[in-house]
Amino acid sequence: MSQDSHHEENFIQKYIFSVDHKIIGLQYGITSLLFLLFGFMLMMVMRWQLAYPETVVPIVGSLLGETGILLPEIYNSLGAMHGTIMIFLGIVPLAVGAFGNYFVPLQIGAPDMAFPKLNAASYWSYFVGGVIMISSFFMPEGAARSGWTSYPPLSIFESGQTIWLISMIFLITSSLLGSMNIIVTIVQLRAPGLSWFRLPFFVWAQFVTSFLLVLAFPPLEAAAVLQLMDRVASTSFFLPSGLVYAGNTVDVSGGGSPLLWQHLFWFLAHPEVYVLILPAMGIVGEVIANNTRKPLWGYRSMIYATVFLGFMSFIVWAHHMFLTGMGQAMSAFFQTTTMIISIPSVVILTSFFLSLWGGSIRFNTPMLFALAFLPMFGIGGLTGLPLGIGAADIHLHDTYYVIGHFHYVVAPGTIFALFAGIYYWFPKMTGKKLSEGLGKLHFWPSLIFMNGIFMPMFIQGLAGVSRRMYDGGQLYAHAQDVLQWNEFMSISAFCLGLAQIPFILNVFITIFSGDKVDRNPWGSTTIEWSAPSPPLPHANFEGPVKVYRDPYEYSVPGAEKDFTPQTEK
């Protein structure tokens, strides 16, 4: 299982098929950042079509066919793949695979994950799933085009879906292996003295996230198997009797139900939302405590809220299905649970805001991203409430309002938090600090253009413009007054792309010519900062770790420094 630190390794053992959690974390990080960029590029192509319908797409036009114009079926493929890639290949692997893998063992003072080989298997399963997903673009059938939600009956008949399902089975396996490992690591490998209420908030967030992944992903795997059977073995799990498709009655035994897919799918996909947001909150907690130089306000209530959020996330799934005709009683139940689940999110967010109170805030790049997370996630969360009420949802369902809502949670919310994490922990991973100047050049335009993209979506959505329309709603009378926003949003999206250039430059410049910093450049209290930068392979720390303190002992009255590390007596 484990190896001694003096064991000689060649390049392939050390960097490719490594079992060291730090290398695997970096592999996850690099792969998922590339996928994020790729998923974002798909969206830029779609945004061109929405702003300038049926004109030749610049730069990548030649890839889209002879005319250079984005065709409707390719638009659908890009939409489905954008969602799938961003969620399953981008954010979850970055938040859980990269940050969880790299920093959970370090923050609990462990030498590695509990199962290093499973950890490597998790990454490679993810990698294979990703390769299969991307390869579907080059298959004769093309990529999946039934949306990331893959609702039947459409998904049973549309081309490209089989590859999508096979890829998903790999990705689900990867998540299961990774999250099992994180749970066992946190329970078993905490350093002596590190009791549950001395764990940093980030570790708690990863712990609850891992439980969500372990328990919510298998039903999607079950659903994927059923859908695969429908496509490959002509069963009719999701096809009702007498279904008419393209003018013909479909020749299947029937007796299935499309609603069954929706139930199984959302049973995963709602907890998935919290999988996307909890690690982000964990990172924001670390950055805020560090840069306000005071303990997190309401640390324990935040943990209780996180655990409660985890439980509740399993009984809200059908609020995505108010319009399916599942009945008043069901809707009333899921409305109620949905309103209840907003409470723990508000507890956590309020604790963050109160943590700022009276702090001597350092406005460095990680802190700027963490601070921007708060209002952005706030907007995303609050705009979700009307969607959780059945009556309001009738108007808002499947409009751009929904797109605006969840993108505020995930894009300027989670992704900003992940950037905060990258800037905050970069010195730990490389021993060098990213440039503040380039960091701010990355942050401010990103903040402005993110809002430029997503804020107008609320306006369009309230006017009733539906999502997933190839022409952005040109043919609808009610959309005419708000169509002019399409160009504005698209230009914001292209500018957001440009705003990532300083980040990419920053990473490369810092790696090749940045100045070395000491092992604790931010003056932080948590355990990972007592390890060398980067931490030692297969061991992390120079000697045994012992913990004497709570996670955030900043500005303790009477102490010499304004921070006292957890490992200090």
Binding site: D4, A110, P111, A114, V184, L189, T235, G255, G256, S257
Partner: protein, 199 residues
């Protein structure tokens, strides 16, 4: 540096890493089969009266009963193989593990006979919703059996002798973990048998 608690228990949790790991894994397996079982319930409730019972009557109950006995026996022998290791009797371990493998292969053979007789009568997953869920559930269960066979064969082959001689405690733990998984697979069948064959 060695990863702690691979063979000795952590004092405050009373668990080894692999013990906790397999329980978490089994929890996810419960959710996987739970998802499929709820799909079964959902489809059965929506089906016309008597439809599931009609198609269910096409299945071979005596063969499935025999298979249930075979699988329960394999669950017993796998415990015996672990107990033999605890009593440091490697020969008996080999015997009981061999029996476990034999029983699991018999199970798969009987399953194969059942499947082919269905196909011969023209009953395929596409024939009805009941047969679709029948083939999916038993097929997925069969894959789990196959996975178990692969792991247990690995421990039964000479490589197991080597592990036993170098790290006897670790090896015993591994057999225990494999056994826990095997009991779970057995338990799934205990649920599958009544809902598919008897109801």
């Amino acid at each position: 540096m060695q990863i702690p608690y691979t063979t000795e228990e952590r004092p405050d949790t009373g668990l080894t890493n692999s013990k906790l790991g397999i329980w978490v894994f089994l929890a996810s397996e419960i959710m996987l089969f739970g998802g499929l079982f709820s799909a079964y319930v959902f489809l059965r409730l929506a089906a016309p009266e008597g439809d599931f019972a009609y198609w269910g009557s096409k299945l071979n109950v005596p063969l499935a009963t025999l298979n249930t006995l075979v699988l329960i026996s394999s669950s017993m022998t796998v415990i015996m193989s672990w107990a033999s290791l605890k009593m440091k009797d490697f020969k008996k371990y080999k015997l009981y593990m061999g029996l476990t493998l034999l029983f699991s292969l018999i199970f798969l053979c009987i399953k194969y006979v059942e499947y082919t007789s269905k196909f011969d009568h023209g009953y395929f997953p596409s024939s009805s919703t009941f047969l679709a869920i029948y083939f999916t559930l038993t097929g997925l269960h069969g894959l789990h059996i196959l996975g178990g066979i692969i792991v247990m064969t690995y421990f039964w082959l000479p490589i197991g002798n080597k592990m036993w001689h170098t790290e006897p405690e670790h090896f015993t733990d591994r057999i225990e973990i494999a056994g826990l998984y095997w009991h779970f697979v057995d338990l799934v069948w205990i649920f599958l048998f009544p809902i598919l064959y008897l109801l």
